[in-house]
């Protein structure tokens, strides 16, 4: 990968730096900016989402359901296009990043809030109304308070997404270096200025924040911990997903006629193969962890900073001299295996019905019992999360960025480069292809899962 870099010696010095530089001014500055801008982005998104959800009470949010599953890259693109025409000076600023985060947060939060409100017992509302509560009081004393756990969970989940999001930051964060944790690491990697000590310090803070968030999220069991499980993605979007799918397909067809197909065909194929291999690898890792008794390993993955995981994989790759594609598969498999773990472990853990034991006693060896009895039970959710992971893999920028050098190209990095070169129209085509792929994978697997 990077020429002249000695991973072992610098990695060791990086460990020493890790201890010292946690409170490095540069690190703390990135941390401060990340938290400030995350909060700045989260509050307007919360207010707008709550207003939308309260006004419509679950109705009229159908378009938002489709928008809720769009990746951050889409919102970044919208913001970039808008700012390009409206305020050119803003296009590389953190305000632009925050705007993209706000736009990305509103649909997800609004859909989640409206579902929380929709789940409330209408008899309580009727009772309050019969007791003379006005609409405002009804909202304050019933809707708002009753859905607080859902709100808190969704907000924390959104904050989690923001803090782990590379996509938006990467697209819009080409300006001042080290403005966020992700940008700091990304920039050093991108410019071949690998600094493990700095990366470790930044990753430490990210992990600390994420662990704190996760502890808080676990307190709000009323709402799903993931907040946006693949199963929910399919349920919530439903037919509107197909509409979005067809719309994007039409857009791609329209714009693709203006492009050189050779330019994006290779990255496209690379991304697809990467997505398939990553989702399969993630499933294998999660299942192996579960059945080997090391299930905690997969679950811990959900608690660990993506940066740390990427860093570990990256260190392994340097020692093993793995090629770029195998390394990407490894990284993405490791990064996504917690998704599988969180989806299938509860299924595998559910109250035992004795089906496996019955199959064993009827003569099925362990593997056959699993294939014939357990697999049909978990097939739907597993296929669903596989599609979700494949879609994430296609859209994922974080891992790709680690290896997005001239010698290796994926669709994501290609789109990224187009954005950075202000070839926004072409980047739009690239994004449309990415989104089309993601939705196709989701749609097909959801269909298969049912």
């Amino acid at each position: 990968m990077s020429s002249g870099f000695s991973p072992v010696s610098e990695g060791m010095s990086g460990v020493m730096d890790f201890r010292i530089r946690i409170f490095d001014p540069e690190v703390l500055s990135a941390l401060r900016l990340t938290l400030i801008w995350s909060g700045v982005a989260l509050l307007p998104a919360y207010a707008a989402a709550m207003a939308l959800a309260s006004m419509s009470r679950g109705r009229g949010l159908r378009p938002l359901r489709g928008l809720a599953v769009l990746p951050g890259m889409f919102y970044a693109w919208v913001v970039l296009v808008l700012l390009r025409h409206l305020a050119p000076d803003f296009r590389f600023s953190m305000i632009a990043v925050a705007l993209a985060w706000i736009l990305a947060g509103i649909p997800y939060l609004a859909v989640t809030f409206s579902e929380g409100i929709g789940d409330l017992d209408p008899r309580n509302r009727e009772a309050m109304m019969s007791l003379g509560a006005s609409r405002l009081r009804l909202w304050w004393h019933h809707d708002l308070l009753q859905t607080l756990p859902v709100q808190a969970s969704a907000l924390l989940q959104q904050l989690w997404h923001i803090l782990t999001s590379f996509s938006i930051v990467m697209i819009l964060g080409g300006g001042p270096p080290h403005e966020t944790l992700e940008v700091a690491v990304y920039t050093s990697m991108r410019l071949d200025r690998v600094d493990p000590g700095l990366a470790a310090a930044l990753a430490f803070w990210q992990a600390l924040i994420l662990i704190s968030l996760r502890i808080m999220i676990r307190r709000f069991r009323a709402a799903p911990v993931t907040g946006f499980s693949p199963r929910h993605a399919g349920e919530r979007t439903g037919r509107s997903l197909v509409v979005v799918f067809i719309s994007i397909a039409a857009l791609v067809l329209l714009l693709a006629t203006r492009q050189d197909p050779q330019e994006w065909m290779r990255p496209l194929l690379t991304s697809v193969s990467l997505a398939v291999l990553s989702s399969t690898g993630a499933l294998i890792i999660a299942l192996a962890a579960y059945f080997s008794g090391w299930r905690g390993v997969a679950e811990i993955g959900a608690w660990v900073s993506p940066m740390i995981l990427s860093w570990i994989c990256w260190s392994i790759s340097m020692r093993w001299s793995l090629g770029s594609l195998p390394m990407l598969v490894l990284i993405q498999s490791v990064l996504f295996s917690p998704w599988f773990a969180r989806t299938i472990f509860p299924l595998l853990d559910r109250k035992r019905t004795g089906e496996i034991e019955a199959a064993r006693l009827l003569g099925a060896p362990a593997a056959s019992a699993w294939i014939l009895v357990e697999w049909p039970r978990v097939r739907g959710p597993v296929l669903s999360v596989a599609g979700w992971v494949a879609a994430l893999s296609v859209m994922e920028v974080s891992s790709v960025m680690w290896f997005s050098r001239g010698d290796f190209d994926t669709l994501s990095s290609w789109v990224q480069n187009l954005f950075l070169r202000f070839r926004i129209d072409e980047a739009g085509v690239g994004f449309a292809i990415l989104a089309l792929l993601a939705y196709a994978l989701l749609w097909l697997t959801e269909k298969g899962g049912k």
Binding site: G354, E357, A358, A359, R360, L361, R377
Partner: protein
């Protein structure tokens, strides 16, 4: 929890009875090999405690039936045969005959989640018997059956046992089923739960 040593001969019934929550199902699960237990379990003189589950050839009716939700009633019943190879026409005929005898022929292709409690119980019983077990372990096998179906189930089991006399260990959920045989009765012994053997 402890239990007296006991033996059950071919075609004999051993009834396990105790108050609810005492550990009857745990005892049965330990015989199945699903719960660790100290002691020995011999079938036809062969020690089977160390055998993997799928080699034991135990016909089991679980308390909650544990029917396979993705298979219909017939495929559930044939599972034990299918896992050992191809299902012959004769096997299918035997299965159909069992469904007929137990008044389930009209439900033979029904998904199991559409079956009533009593129907599920009978399908589980057919599944436990059809593949030719060497021992029957039945956890409340008559639960949810009305008098008519209880009679047909008993007839079916007696018919099977007359052709293939295997030991039957079963948990009763009510008294007075009229099933002859030894009994393991749960009670207190020196402050510990203990199953004591009673001969008829």
């Amino acid at each position: 929890m402890t239990a007296d040593d006991f033996d059950v001969g071919p075609g004999e019934w051993l009834e396990v009875s105790a108050p609810s929550g005492f550990g009857k199902s745990t005892l049965l699960r330990s015989l199945m090999g699903l719960t660790p237990v100290e002691g020995q379990l011999r079938v036809s003189g062969v020690e089977v405690s160390g055998q993997p589950l799928h080699r034991r050839r135990f016909g089991v009716v679980f308390q909650d039936q544990a029917l396979f939700a993705h298979l219909n009633a017939l495929d559930n019943a044939l599972f034990g045969l299918r896992i050992r190879g191809r299902v012959s026409d004769g096997d299918r005929a035997r299965a159909e005959d069992a469904f007929r005898k137990l008044g389930l022929l009209h439900r033979i292709r029904a998904p199991v989640d559409e079956l009533s409690g009593g129907e599920r119980q009978r399908v589980a019983l057919i599944r436990a018997v059809l593949f030719g077990p060497v021992l029957l372990l039945l956890d409340e096998p008559f639960k949810g059956l009305d008098a008519e179906h209880l009679r047909s189930v008993m007839d079916y089991l007696q018919s099977f046992l007359s052709e293939s006399p295997v030991p039957v260990v079963w948990i009763s959920h009510l008294n007075g089923t009229g099933v002859p045989g030894k009994r393991l009765v749960g009670g207190d012994r020196n402050g510990r739960r203990h199953f004591q053997l009673h001969h008829p």
